[in-house]
């Protein structure tokens, strides 16, 4: 972070004040029987005011237990919210593939993961094997969803 401003400082203090409100909060891992992954992903299109890049966010649950989460500014500019959303999905998918492999090496059979996404157009791209011409540029990056 170069050139931090007053607004950034206030935001940082705000986070610390939030920590103050409940320092003992944590995660409870309780016993599970089925290793059923749920993936929730979302994106915020063009949210960075400087570069207009979008933000990816995803959250992976293993039977209600939070396992993996991440939010990251995407490294390319998306031309539509669908593209941003689809990219977020691709990131989440690559992580879930890794997680399922890890579980498999630990000797557990994992049922296919469910990915939840709130963008209808992206869902259409996923379910439709024939990509429409306008999505060709996304395909290169994210075709493995």
């Amino acid at each position: 972070m170069q050139d931090p401003r007053q607004g950034h400082w206030d935001a940082a203090l705000h986070v610390l004040r939030y920590l103050k409100s409940n320092p003992g909060q944590g995660i409870l891992l309780s016993p599970t029987t089925t290793f059923d992954f749920q993936v929730y992903c979302d994106s915020d299109w063009g949210s960075c005011p400087m570069s207009r890049r979008s933000v990816t966010g995803y959250f992976i649950q293993l039977d209600q237990l939070p396992i993996s989460w991440r939010t990251k500014k995407q490294d390319v500019v998306s031309r539509s919210s669908v593209e941003a959303e689809y990219r977020a999905m691709a990131n989440a998918t690559s992580d879930i593939v890794w997680l399922r492999n890890l579980m498999a090496t630990l000797g557990f059979s994992v049922p296919p993961a469910t990915i939840h996404c709130d963008n209808q157009a992206s869902l259409h791209i996923v379910t439709n094997p024939a990509f429409p011409g306008r999505t060709k540029h996304i395909e290169v990056d994210c075709h493995f969803v």
């Binding site: 007053q6 103050k20 409870l28 891992l29 016993p31 396992i67 890890l102």
Partner: protein
């Protein structure tokens, strides 16, 4: 401090030698630290000899420095499995971790004050890696991986800090974060046997059941495992002097837009 020197001598970390032409000897110094328990009470005072690795030159004094560490996701995955299967969890710590690594490069160190050799021209030639050397974590990692492979562990290609042992019905998983290790498996007796083996290779401190791993407090009950970072949070608050601040219930204001060119520039960013 005497403990550390004894460890160094037991380990045959260096031998005295004359400095070859064209080589420089690295300086060293003592670092003193107070170690705390999970609840904040003082565990012990510690002295550690470090080499000034920041004077090392790449290509001459060291080549590769990469060393893997565990991903938090892997830690959570393992813990979930442990809870579901009701396995036991053990935590170990290696004494003087980096002193175990062997060195591939020739490195010379100025002798310690008070431990000067007979001739003033002699310097210490390092045989084992020492804290502060750039390659120390990597060399340790190699050494550990070899010891584990001799026992029958396999390094997981998905996370290089995860080692798995699979023989017959016995399954052990070991997660390594530099010198902190987390061991679990479906057989307690095999866990114990493995600990004895590892203790023979390196000097091990058995910390018993997992309680405090990588700054995360772990509590086990009949309902499951509870992970929290209570001590770490309080440390941050104390450090920033915000212990008495008014608590807020959300981490961020809604619709907050931060930008790099609006608002007053902070006069003293550090």
């Amino acid at each position: 401090m005497t403990k550390e020197i004894r460890a160094l001598e037991d380990n045959k970390t260096w031998e005295f030698a004359t400095l070859p032409h064209g080589k420089t000897a690295l300086g060293c110094k003592w670092v003193y630290k107070i170690k705390y328990n999970a609840d904040g009470s003082i565990e012990r005072y510690k002295a550690r000899l470090v080499v000034l690795g920041n004077h090392q030159v790449e290509g001459i004094d060291y080549n590769e420095t990469f060393a893997p560490v565990a991903r938090m996701v892997t830690v959570r995955c393992i813990l979930t499995i442990v809870v579901s299967k009701g396995w036991s969890l053990h935590q170990m710590d290696v004494h003087n971790t980096f002193l175990h690594g062997d060195l591939n490069e020739d490195i010379y160190m100025k002798p310690l004050l008070g431990f000067s050799p007979t001739s003033p021209h002699l310097v210490c030639k390092l045989k084992k890696s020492l804290y502060g050397l750039r390659q120390a974590p990597r060399q340790w990692c190699f050494k550990l991986a070899h010891a584990l492979q001799d026992y029958g562990f396999k390094q997981s290609p998905l996370d290089h800090s995860l080692f798995l042992y699979n023989r017959g019905r016995v399954f052990l998983a070991l997660l390594v974060y530099v010198d902190d290790m987390m061991l679990t498996g479906n057989s307690s007796s095999h866990c114990e046997a493995f600990k004895v083996y590892l203790n023979d290779c390196f000097k091990l401190k058995d910390l018993g059941a997992l309680k405090y791993f990588l700054g995360i407090e772990v509590a086990r009950s009949s309902k499951g495992l509870f992970l929290c970072q209570w001590k770490y949070t309080l440390d941050i608050l104390t450090e920033t002097g915000l212990l008495g601040a008014k608590p807020s219930f959300f981490p961020m204001e809604q619709k907050l837009r931060l930008s790099a060119d609006s608002g007053a520039l902070l006069s003293d960013p550090s």
